[in-house]
Amino acid sequence: MIIIEGLNKFYGKKQSLKDVSLKINAGDIYGLLGPNGAGKSTLLSILALTSSPGSGNVEMDGIPIKKRKQISELIGYVPQDLALWENLSVKENFKFWNNFSKTRLTDEQLHELCQKVKLEDKWMVKVSHLSGGMKRKLNIAVALIHNPKILLMDEPTVGIDLQSKLEINHYLRELAATGKTIVYITHDITEILTLCDRVGILKEGSLQFSGTIKEAQQMLREKGNILKNDEETIYKLLTN
């Protein structure tokens, strides 16, 4: 479980996050939505330890975020850009990232992980020779080497073909079913509707809504909005 209370973050004079409070349940796929510059990536980077939090409290599985070593064992971070060494093979990338964990996997275990993302036949292939979709799968797989409880993903399927996207989404659902919490930034409405259990809407650094799509529909209808479908619900959440 992730608990965020009164989180603020400034970049110079600009406030990127304004008093954000939310709770993400264990095993949920939580979609973080919002227009560009809303603070989604800032929030994710704080959870991923790549940015320092300003004021406020953040806890993951009851551990405060200041305990970086313990938190780092809990999380797996999939940045939007491919964090891979292009001139190394898939195997070498797995082995290199393996060195960053507290407990290291054997080559066989790494190969099993590679099989799970369907890249086993590319084991010895250089990353620079992989397709965009394969690189994205590898980008996700290396974040799972230390078997984290929480997966933080910043647009992990951006710019890839539909088949790879569906494969990745299927794999993420499998991961969530094993109890992993996934925080997921995306602009893809289909992914939001098919993948996410709950969503959080950020606008100009403030959290506008956090809950399920049904809860969002109920809230909007209570405010007098007429909603034809789920897509319109998301649209209304983003624009209101």
């Binding site: 980077s45 991923a48 330890l49 790549t50 320092s52 970086r68 070593k69 780092s72 064992e73 999380i75 797996g76 971070y77 999939v78 940045p79 850009d81 491919l82 964090a83 891979l84 060494w85 190394l88 082995k95 290199f96 990232w97 393996n98 060195n99 960053f100 964990s101 507290k102 290291r104 290396v142 974040a143 230390h146 933080l152």
Partner: protein, 385 residues
């Protein structure tokens, strides 16, 4: 302590010809190649010096002849007025005037103010020529002293003045021969003739090898750290979220580069000692390793404030060139500027080029400490940002 990152990085360098070239081959090869070229150029270099002989005596003629035999000096023989014009137009490096009465002064063993020296702010050879003339004057006065001593002894035997003149000349010539093949055949002289002695190698000319080594090694350090800027936006964010973290990654990766640079140092010391540019001893090896440490620290520092790889390489090239010039990699600093020379402790070359590498000064320890602290802060800055 888990050194997995260290070993993976080590193997990656071993497998990368470009990295090996940059870390080991280029600093050594470029130092030797350019060093030999510069040394050859130095050997071909002659310094124009004007010699004004107002005494026109046998002694002044002797000084003139001996100066003419010096390989590094192009001697001109103008009048006093012409010499004035020549030095004002910087056609000559310095002017030496043998004043009238030079021989007479020496004969009465009075050496003071018998030679005038004119120099400009850019004179290079004045010190060398002054020393040469001083040694000639010393040689003559010693010869005269010896001859006078012999004549004084024979005067007691009532020799004729013709015989005494002959004896004087014989004694003078005999004494003069004692200065061949080089002046002052003393115990020190024997030391200078020792073929293993480094002091003998320079023969008062500047050896460019160590200076060039500092330049190319520093360049190699900066070039080898470029990956920090390259990986900063893509790889570093994920590394920051891992258990090992960014500090461990940078420390182990830079540690690997340091090891390769140390191998480069050992090879350089071996090769430079083979060509007698330096003497193998532990002090110089330690100083060279400290220089590499500072070079890598400065590189990490620059990489931590650079956002684009191209900018980093451009700025680091300029910075290395600047440090090379003002730190004395190419010229002896004291001949370039006294002020720069007194500030030389600020530049990493000071560890090697001021010939004091056998002792680590407080200034140098302070300098190394400051650089180390700033580098650690720079890595921390990379971690937090």
């Amino acid at each position: 302590m888990n050194l997995g990152i260290f070993f993976v990085k080590f193997m990656r360098i071993i497998k990368s010809p470009f990295s090996l070239l940059n870390l080991v081959v280029v600093p050594i090869g470029a130092t030797l190649g350019l060093g030999f070229l510069l040394e050859k150029g130095q050997q071909d270099l002659v310094i124009p010096v004007a010699f004004v002989d107002e005494d026109q005596s046998g002694f002044s003629e002797t000084v003139k002849t001996r100066l003419q035999n010096q390989p590094k000096i192009q001697l001109y023989f103008p009048s006093r007025k012409e010499a004035e014009r020549m030095i004002l137009r910087k056609e000559v490096d310095s002017v030496f005037v043998i004043k009238e009465g030079f021989e007479d002064s020496l004969l009465i063993e009075k050496r003071e103010e018998s030679v005038e020296v004119w120099i400009t702010s850019s004179s290079l050879a004045e010190g060398i020529v002054r020393e040469l003339i001083a040694s000639e004057v010393l040689r003559m006065t010693s010869n005269i002293k010896a001859a006078e001593f012999i004549v004084k002894h024979y005067k007691k035997q009532n020799k004729s003045s013709f015989e005494l003149n002959y004896l004087w000349q014989e004694a003078f010539n005999y004494s003069d021969k004692q200065w061949e093949p080089a002046p002052l055949m003393t115990i020190d002289y024997e030391t200078f003739r020792d073929e293993n002695s480094v002091k003998d190698l320079g023969k008062s000319t500047y050896s460019p090898f160590l200076g060039l080594w500092t330049f190319f090694s520093l360049f190699s350090c900066f070039l080898s750290i470029g990956w920090i800027v390259g990986e900063r936006s893509l790889i570093f964010p994920r590394i920051k979220s891992t258990y090992k973290g960014l500090f461990s990654y940078i420390a182990q990766s830079v540690g690997v580069l340091f090891i390769f640079q140390c191998i480069q140092v050992i090879l350089s010391v071996f090769l430079l000692s083979r060509i007698k540019a330096i003497e193998i001893n532990l002090d110089i090896i330690v100083s060279m390793i400290l220089f590499i440490f500072i070079g890598l620290a400065l590189s990490v520092l620059l990489a931590s404030v650079s956002t684009r790889e191209k900018n980093y390489y451009l700025v680091s090239s300029l910075l290395v060139l600047l440090i090379g010039i003002v730190g004395g990699s190419f010229f002896p600093l004291q001949e370039l500027s006294n002020k720069l020379s007194s500030l030389s402790f600020l530049f990493p070359q000071a560890l090697l080029l001021d010939n004091s590498y056998s002792t680590l000064t407080i200034d140098e320890i302070f300098y190394i400490s400051v650089i180390s602290c700033i580098t650690l802060l720079a890595i921390r800055r990379l971690h937090i940002k």
